[in-house]
């Protein structure tokens, strides 16, 4: 065991002299987590998406004003921005100039048409280069239309029950605002009560898991490099057991992996502009250990099957990228349903992220144990297989 540690410490010193470990293990995941957070963060929070709309209210009735107010309310909640345009031509110009993505055109007589139950149309006119923003604008208009329909039914029902005609006077005589009829229910968002990772933590954890496999590879590949350079044969000639030699490299890989993950967890939590929330420290530590072990096992297995360090490096990259993709380290995979959402659990990445999800929302550290157990399973199976393959390889 002493020999294994000596080998690991010697290699660790070597690796630290070479900046590659820092670039792949710390700088790269941090930089990408930061960029992804800036780019995708707004979509996840639903605010700051850059939805810029215009509204042309040619009607100026109570109903059209109500719609404009809904948009302005959304503006206050930072969901979108909205500006008024006097004419259609003005709004077209604003689209052409790239000031807005789409505008709502409320035609003259809309309020009257609604009152008299005639057909009415709200146009959503969008920039051809902003199809998504335009689609979102349309869903705002649809929601408004559903709300107006509810008020229409309310007024009509009251009139029929009271035996009155629907006239502006009748509507004015009502004690309540007909718009109230649309709020007979609320859709209360209880997402906060679920145990899910927020976007920032997701990108931080996803990138950390992705690059972990490359970081760990530095240690495992050392075995093949020593084999090629002939130093491995010399090590075997020394009174050191093979287990110690292979164990030394495994300890090295584990140490590099844990160190880089540790730095990443702390850095993504503290750095301004990120502020990830990983959850109970003990639980995170258990997940990181298990995750690193599974990475060491898988990369060890890859190395034991490759003939040269180059092949191992290339094959390792392929495996790392495929597992990260499938495991949902870049974007969540489960929601696609079907085969993919089951296949994702053949990757340690998916278990790592799921374990962190289980820790989210102030959960106790022990919630991470099932996911950690699954990753230990990967580590055990791949590690033992790698050990047998390597023993056979050097027995020849």
């Amino acid at each position: 065991m002493g020999a294994a540690f000596l080998i690991a410490v010697k290699d660790l010193k070597l690796r630290f002299r070479d900046r590659s470990v820092f670039i792949l293990g710390i700088v790269a995941p941090l930089a990408l987590a930061f960029i992804f957070n800036v780019v995708f963060g707004p979509a996840a929070s639903g605010t700051g998406l850059g939805l810029e709309y215009g509204v042309v209210d040619l009607d100026r009735s109570e109903i059209s004003t109500a719609f404009v107010e809904i948009l302005e309310d959304a503006e206050r909640r930072e969901v979108l921005t909205v500006e008024s345009h006097a004419t259609r031509a003005d709004a077209d110009e604003a689209i052409a100039g790239g000031d807005i993505d789409a505008y709502f055109l409320i035609p003259e007589g809309l309020g009257q048409a609604v009152m008299t139950n005639l057909s009415a149309i709200v146009d959503v006119v969008g920039d051809i280069d902003a199809p998504t923003s335009t689609q979102i604008a349309a869903s705002f208009a649809e929601q408004f239309s559903a709300g107006v329909a509810a008020s229409q039914v309310a007024v009509a029902t009251t009139a029929q029950v009271a035996g009155a005609q629907i006239t502006p006077e009748f509507i004015a005589s009502l004690g309540q605002d007909p718009a109230r009829a649309a709020s007979s229910f609320t859709l209360s968002d209880q997402t906060a009560q679920t145990r899910q990772l927020d976007a920032t933590t997701f990108f931080s954890a996803g990138m950390a898991a992705f690059f972990l496999f490359f970081t760990v590879q530095f240690g495992v590949l050392g075995l093949l490099e020593e084999e090629r350079e002939g130093t491995l044969a010399r090590l075997f000639a020394a009174p050191i057991s093979r287990l110690s030699v292979i164990g030394g490299k495994a300890i090295l890989s584990f140490a590099i992996g844990v160190m880089s993950m540790g730095v990443l967890v702390v850095a993504t939590s503290l750095l301004p502009g990120l502020g990830a929330d990983w959850g109970a420290p003990l639980g995170v530590a258990v997940l990181v250990m298990a995750g690193v072990l599974s990475a060491v096992g898988i990369m060890g297995l890859v190395s034991s099957m490759a003939r040269t360090p180059e092949t191992a490096g290339n094959l390792g990259s392929i495996i790392a990228v495929i597992l990260a993709m499938l495991g949902g380290a870049f974007f969540p995979i489960g929601a696609a349903g079907g085969l993919l959402s089951r296949l994702t659990y053949v990757t340690p990445h998916a278990w790592f992220l799921r374990g962190l999800g289980d820790l989210a929302g102030e959960a106790a550290w022990s919630e991470a144990l099932p996911a950690a157990g699954a990753m230990m399973g990967f580590a055990l199976v791949t590690g033992v297989t790698a050990w047998f393959l390597l023993r056979r390889r050097w027995a020849r």
Binding site: L24, V39, V125, G147, A154, T191, T194, A199, N314, G338
Partner: protein, 387 residues
């Protein structure tokens, strides 16, 4: 001529490496397929539904949602199971219909329906859709509450009237058009959105990954040996550039042709699309060359290459539509060549433009290419002639 030979040797070296075959030819197509399945129209997002009891209103809402083809409804007996399914991502959102909805409504109270979503952005759009459907079902209920309050009639009697009238009301229609009268295509092809983004992402990624081959060429002394033959430094630099350029071009054209044939992706005017690929490949080649000249350790170059190519792709709108960026971020995005290439593709596909229409984009990409190649040529000249 010699430069061309050097270029071809580089291309052959790339193709001989089996892992390159994966990253250059298999992986991009797999991603186009995966992204298409994930975000395309083929799979409707899954919404879970939990009904606390067999209330009629709840049943009606469940019914309406089930008949909506744009979502896939799964029923959950247990609220916990539903929450768990959202947490694990097997459904995108969940709806919790409470106990005794009718009773609550009859008493004039507001019915509180719970909603859970994945925090990945798709949840809020689904919420708008689900909310519209519930509004439709609940319209008579709200109307009945309103009328009962106004007329002092019983809720049951006003509800009967409201349910009858609900079918007679004409809701406001929403029509979506684009500026210039042309209608938006009903659905953009399932893979159209992803294909040009993936092309830009991978061509650049491969080009930067090519820097390690250049570093190896220098490390093994191949460049020095080439210099010992009657070959000028300029020829070697041009040859190496041609090699990177050829690799990027082959991959770009491959992605374009294969997605066109297999997924029926619309690339617009072919001359225009190929022009963008050619110029963008030159940009990638320049960036790859520059890295190959500046770095002397291929592992470091690989790490920086991954960060640069994924980071620039994300910033340039190759992972998330640029239209949804904030105004500041849109300006930042256009610092990357990716954004210009994507603008060019969008012009060809969305507006049916031709090569003339994308001259501004091609011009800017050419400036990137010339700038990067000149810088890379200079640095490489220094790197391979250094004693």
């Amino acid at each position: 001529m010699k430069a061309l030979t050097i270029g071809l040797v580089n291309l052959r070296r790339m193709l001989r490496e089996r892992s390159n075959i994966f990253f250059v030819f298999i992986f991009p197509i797999a991603i186009v397929l995966l992204v298409g399945i994930q975000f395309g129209s083929a799979s409707a997002p899954g919404v879970g539904l939990h009904q606390a009891d067999d209330d009629l209103l709840a049943a009606e809402i469940a019914n309406r949602l089930q008949s909506d083809d744009s979502i896939e409804i799964t029923s959950y007996e247990d609220e916990e199971d539903l929450t768990r399914a959202v947490e694990q991502g097997s459904i995108t959102a969940g709806l919790l219909l409470p106990e005794g909805m009718e009773e609550v409504a009859a008493s004039g109270e507001v019915v509180e329906i719970g909603y859970l979503a994945r925090p990945d952005g798709s949840g809020s759009q689904l919420q708008a859709l689900v909310s519209s459907t519930i509004t439709e079902v609940m319209a008579p209920v709200g109307a009945a509450q309103f009328a009962a309050e106004e007329t002092n009639a019983s809720f049951q009697s006003t509800l009967a009237v409201a349910e009858e009238l609900a079918n007679q009301v004409r809701p406001i229609d929403v029509e979506v058009t684009s500026v210039g009268e042309a209608l938006f295509p009903e659905t953009l092809g399932q893979f159209d959105l992803g294909a040009s983004s993936q092309l830009v992402l991978f061509v650049f990624l491969t080009a930067l990954a090519g820097s390690s081959a250049l570093i190896l060429t220098r490390q093994l002394g191949i460049s020095r040996r080439m210099l010992a033959t009657p070959t000028s430094v300029g020829t070697i630099v041009v040859g190496e550039s041609l090699g990177r350029f050829g690799t990027a071009l082959v991959q770009g054209l491959y992605i374009m042709v294969l997605t066109l044939i297999v997924f029926g992706v619309n690339w617009g005017d072919p001359v225009g699309a190929i022009s963008i690929i050619v110029v963008f490949s030159a940009v990638g080649a320049g960036a790859g060359m520059l890295m190959g000249a500046v770095f002397s350790n291929d592992q470091q170059a690989a790490g920086v290459g991954v960060v640069l190519s994924l980071g620039l792709a994300a910033l340039g709108g190759a992972m998330f539509p640029i239209e949804l960026f904030s105004p500041t971020m849109q300006i930042v995005a256009h610092v990357t060549p990716h954004a210009w290439a994507l603008d060019g593709f969008a012009e060809l596909v969305r507006r049916g433009g031709n090569t003339l229409d994308i001259l501004p984009e091609l011009g800017i990409l050419t400036m990137y290419a010339v700038g990067l190649l000149a810088l890379a040529g200079w640095r490489l000249r220094v790197a391979i002639t250094r004693p």
